[in-house]
Symmetry: C2
Subunit: 341 residues, 2 copies
């Protein structure tokens, strides 16, 4: 069966109506939405065809039709008219997003906030990651006689720190020695180089000071790993409660969102600027009833991180896709400006 123009129009109308109301849409209700006049019987026939073709389905025999994953996909790829954000919205967003102090984390937090508010979905974002980030500085700062903070600053502008306990008292010489070892071996080198294995050989070469230093280096490796694994920010989680159709899965969904790794993977995956996964298109089963729209941002020309929203499958794609593109573009621009290389 081939896809006629009339079928397309009907499919689009069904999708849009369902997105708007959340109710299965019946043949009669559709009459008003179409720009041509036919009877409801004709529409019924067409809808039956579309159902057979896999674009629509019925929750039960005597209900209206609901788009399938395939239906949404066709709509998004071929039928949808994008709805660019208004000048007004753009300004409001830009104002909120840039209201921070220039701190990347704060920036992404604001961006997530504004997205969550505007879309009524949960917003996720990843910090600009420094895959090729190098060590800019590493040092220890004594806190107690046997405790110190290890501080690691990367070229990507992230600073990580962690307390660390030593078996031996920390002297100014320890501090000095650590600093110079780091300066000699790490500064300017990529973060990946600070692996536990590599550190073991290094510690071995330190001879008599190996003992007092080893715990510091272990912590340093922790920090490096931490700096490499891009942080995930989550906003508007509770918006999900407003979407009835997510049903009992909400709890699992929220649990899923809480642990960052899968989200981080999700966001880092797509190759295109914008990436849309509808319901079962998602590889995580917790997202089988949800859609995600992921928009990547570039910092100084390099793909660096992404912003995403997660909500029910009946998202207002026509509006949200351009919105996400706009916000991620904005974030990329601001970050590019602030993180020069």
């Amino acid at each position: 069966m081939e896809m006629t123009q009339r079928k397309q129009k009907i499919l689009a109308a069904v999708v849009e109506s369902y997105i708007r109301t959340g109710e299965p849409v019946g043949s009669k209700n559709l009459l008003g939405e179409l720009d041509f006049s036919v009877s409801s019987a004709t529409i019924r026939n067409e809808m039956a065809d579309l159902a057979e073709m896999g674009y629509l389905e019925q929750p039960h025999t005597s209900a209206g039709r609901v788009p399938t994953t395939l239906g949404y996909r066709y709509y998004i790829d071929k039928l949808m008219n994008k709805l660019e954000p208004t000048e007004e919205d753009r300004k409001a967003i830009a104002k909120t997003v840039s209201s921070g102090s220039g701190d990347p984390e704060q920036l992404l937090e604001k961006a997530g906030e504004v997205i969550a508010r505007l879309t009524g979905c949960a917003a996720v974002s990843t910090m600009p990651l420094g895959e090729k980030a190098t060590v800019r500085r590493a040092e220890i700062v004594p806190v107690g006689t046997r405790t110190a903070m290890i501080v690691l600053l990367t070229s990507a502008g992230t600073l990580k720190s962690k307390a660390c306990r030593s078996d031996m008292p920390i002297t100014p010489q320890t501090v000095e020695r650590f600093y110079s070892v780091c300066a000699a071996h790490f500064v300017g080198k990529p973060l990946e180089d600070i692996s536990t294995v590599m550190l073991q050989t290094l510690v071995a070469s330190l001879g008599e000071h190996a003992l007092e230093m080893s715990s510091f280096f272990v912590t340093l490796a922790d920090l490096a790993a931490d700096a490499l694994s891009s942080d995930v920010l989550l906003e508007g989680q509770s918006n999900l409660f407003n979407h009835r159709e997510l049903g009992g899965n909400i709890i699992e969904l929220m649990e899923f969102l809480r642990k960052g790794e899968p989200i981080s993977k999700l966001l880092s995956k797509g190759k295109d600027d914008i990436d849309i996964k509808i319901g079962t298109e998602n590889e995580y089963k917790q997202l089988a009833n949800s859609s995600v729209i992921i928009s990547h941002y570039d910092v100084n020309g390099a793909r660096s991180g992404a912003l995403g929203i997660i909500g029910p499958t009946r998202l207002n794609y026509a509006k949200l896709i351009p919105y996400m593109q706009f916000v991620s573009g904005l974030v990329g621009d601001i970050l590019s400006e602030s993180i020069e290389d």
Copy 2:
């Protein structure tokens, strides 16, 4: 009406049975739980008295009885037999809690985790706060030509940092100047001294360099404020979903937990070592259906922070109160050891 010993036994049995099962408890069910034999009619009479006295209530006319806030309170204060954690449990907890690297945040995270797991509640904790903390070090680290990280290290061992954008290029001289100004004016002084007002006068006194420095100082004030407002950690939030009786309030409750300030207030409030608020005893209406058990910990003899659990009112107080005391004691000990002054 006075409280006879028999009434006390019945009240205790009702509370314990309700805590165990979550079902309103009827007169017949209670027969087996008591160490004396009377008929169900007698118990009914006594329960009616207890209800009249305000310790019990009925969800509806023909249901069993449920403890009121007052009932729980009486039980906890006068009737309860504390159930100290077993040696086994103590060891398991101690092992988990001390498995971190000596970082206070990680320590509290682990503690919260273990509490959440053990109790099936949401766990909250505040970082050791440094009310009397002083500035140990403050500096800027250039990231781009016009961007820098401001880093603030306090005597309490917390390190805060934030990116900041400057209107003018940042030169090594800027870094040096900032460092020396901080060394002269802030190091050793309490964090509260870095107020915006104080900074304004300072900036004014800097003359020609005022402009290039001002944004850094503003950020520094942010950091100081941030370091003073103790961070709140939250674990096991989703455990709350397992408690049916929280009902529709769960959403509000989770929203409430998400924003840290009220929690921070809640935890910093109590004067006693342990602090129990049952249902409506809580001043926040979002907690009206919940109980909180807060246990404070001391670092080097000074009240520094607290751990708490939040769950339904039918908590197993007899078990959880000693548990919380144990964990907070443990946390205090470990922190005292690692943060020497």
